[in-house]
Amino acid sequence: MTTTTYFLLLFIFFFPFISSAQTPGYLGKRASLIINSSTFPAIKGPTRNNKGLESFGPESNGIGLNYEFEADFSYAYKRYKSLGLTVGHYSTAQEFFTSTDPVDSSVDGQDEHRVFSEISVTSISLIRKKFRIGKGGLAPFGNYLFGGLRANFATGSILEKTTTYASPTGADFGHGEILPDPKFTQFLFIYGFGNNLIFKDRIIFSMGMRFSLPFKPSTLATLTTGDAAGRDFEDKARFRLFYHEFFRINIGVGVLLF
């Protein structure tokens, strides 16, 4: 999907809702800023600190949490609806196996690498929340469902690796370039539900769950095969991000601005 198509889609999705209407907000305040921490236990792949069930190393390194910090600015544009822009950042990690040709071309076989790499992501999301009338919601207060679009700007870098050389003396000569550091943008649909509680008429406590699906179904197709080997670092990173993004629990604290 081209960036143009992406922005066209954004325009179509959000434009009809940006119109003036009776919007009480919460005691007249419609804008809010929430600092969110979205998190989920590291089940597939390690955290940036190498925690999690599939951590880098000889054995499992306990339970770790992937988390992301986000700043979420929302504005209630209708009684039950709000539109928000969220900017977030997180780092996660992945472990993968790859191979390179030995430096000494006379040696049969390949140098095998077990790589621990970091993926650093800056995200921007546009989110439309619909507050639930039946639950007494009035934007930005109460229970809500949300949907939106998210762009992850990711970069990858190798932090650590262990290599098994095809040649017994291979270590003395080093090895070829493993994979180039990736830099890519990933687009996702995000959706979920949550609840904003308001205390002292100003402080917001927010909780929710978020799911996401990438735009590119091919990523999903590869996922189902489970065969990650042989692809480049970017593919592996996208693959890793999918797991990271698929399900999150959000907890946040914020303020009503104006």
Binding site: A21, Q22, Y26, G28, R79, K135, G136, F141
Partner: protein, 727 residues
Amino acid sequence: MQTKLTQLIICLFFFSISLAAQQPSLLKAEGNIPDDFLTPSTIKYKAEVEELKGKKSDRKTKKDKKRFLLETNFSIDDILQSGMVLFNDPATKYINKVLANLSIEDTYLKSKNPRAYILNSSAVNAFATDQGIIFITLGLLATLENEAQLAFILSHELIHIKHRHSLDKFIESKKIDKKNSQNKKNMEEVNVSRASFSKAMYSQQLETEADEEGIEIFLRSKYDPKAVLNTFNILHYSYLPFENEVFDTAFFQDEYFIFPRQFWRHYLNEISPMKEDSEEAKKSSHPSSSVRLEKLKERVSNSPTNGKKEFILPKKDFFEIQKRARYHIPFLNLYNENFPEAIYTSYLVLKYYPNDYEIRKVIGKALYMELKYQLEEKDRSNDYKENNSEIEGESQQVYHFLNLLTKSELVILAMKYNWNLHLENKEDQETIFLLEDLSKKFAKQFDSLEYYFSAKPPTPESEVDSTTSETSAYWSYAFVNEMQNEDFKKNYDKGMAAYKKEKAREEYYESNEGQKEIVDRLKKERESGKSIGIKKIAVVNPFYISLDARKDETVQLVRSEEKQNYFSNSILKIAKQSEIEIDLLDVTKLSPNESEKFNDIAELNHYFNQQMNHYDFSLSPSFNQNKANAIAEKYGTDYFLWTGVISLREKNKGWGLVALSALFIYPLPLVLPYAITPKYDMMYYAILFDVKTGQRSILKMDYFDKRDSKGMLNAHIYDVFYQISSD
């Protein structure tokens, strides 16, 4: 010459003053509001619980007593704050003077500081509360014949206070219910009847005790003992109006408009004599009047009457109070929607005040409301139509008459009566408003004034033959006089135009296009709310009730009061934050010198109840529209908001599923959160009335399955104000 002229002017001045003094008016609360009305129920309850702590009794009884104190304090305060209770008015002052004439020797009774208030009700009744308050209804005051009878009733009530009979009754009732619930379920019906019989028996014992000891207090006073005897007679016939006068069948007639004879009953049901103890009386909370009378007769007849009087206070004071109480009764009957009774009691009051415009308006309004009920075929809260044949006494003439009138006849009568009222006082906004609606209904029934009512007045030579009227359309002569008046015809034309407009509107909204418009509008309102564009309103008695379905006593009285207090405070606070100016008319927030506001709230409560009762009617003027208009002027707004919250904590229902999970473990992670999450519901309503037109806007009538948190309340209070103020 000049001196004589001055004397004449002075005479005229005093004459006009005496006329004005004779002009009756409705009693209303005056002066400072007593503490009984303003002290929060929780404070009263907690103080009484503190007293209880020092006393010895078993745990169960103590628990029941605490529950009693809770319920009694809150329910009595509900009555006190309803606006139905008068204070510092001439009638209340009078009954308290009579109370002061009774010597109280008992220390406990003295400590309770017995005091009496008037209850604005047409029922003939009196009752005492554990707090030392005696309520006397206007219906009783209107019926009693002398001061001594009132003194006897007060003596009887003092014994109820002295022996804490209401507490005894409560505890006994609990015991009976407990015993009853232990019996087998298949005997449920028998048990219920046995329980109510047991309760009635106990109550009758207490009443007998109050009679027997009350007479001693009474006999110690200077009141004539013989007065007691007729008191029971009065109580027995309390279901009859305060007088039993023949209703003049020509009351609604004029020289041309004469009702055929079949409208009037030739034989009326006789008033049944006082019976000995009947089966019915055994189920009553009081022994039968004849039994009560029999028990006291001997004691009364053996008592000396030397120097004893029927009146200790000036006799004229009693009859002045009685007259004022009687003046109230037609209005109360109108509020209770007993229209025949309202007409009959108005007829009785007109004997004292033949030209009283307000009383005649009660009749006009009663006819109008009776017509509305007939046209709309709405269920009545007061089903006097069903019990018509059981009515005793002269008032049954009016019941019978109204029952026989067809819709067309009724609209003619209502129109004629109210039109003539209007001619007497063309400035009266209430009658103008009522006629506006009535004219539409009249036009709907009769599509041509000339066609139906053009019958020429009979010539002076030929007398009106009532036998002819019976066979032909007698009502065609209804407007012989009125048809001479151009304004009457113009009023009809106006009514016809309004009716046609209303009909066209109804037809439009029944069409597909109209239906679509309604659906779109409702959808838009749901999405965007309303935009009424009003900057000033008055909020009347914010209501809050908190229920807990997990507990035996579902209504959480203390929490309800706390939340109501928070709700009222939030309304004030949030109004400041929003672009709306409000006046909070909340009885619980009044200061002692705001009795005028108290009266206004009482009147607005009447207004709201009436409007809500007739929710499915088209716009109705209030029973006291002039007062509503005056209140609107006083507060500088026509818009009055009624708002409230009902919150409910439900039973958690998921534990059965958790138990099932013991057999099949996998759903447990889903079932467990469901089982342990508390379940709440709340309903929030906000209805804004334009009290001058009766138009209403429902800003909220929402049900949420959420807890009534502070954030939730604040958000919705603001939303209501926002919808009201935004253009």
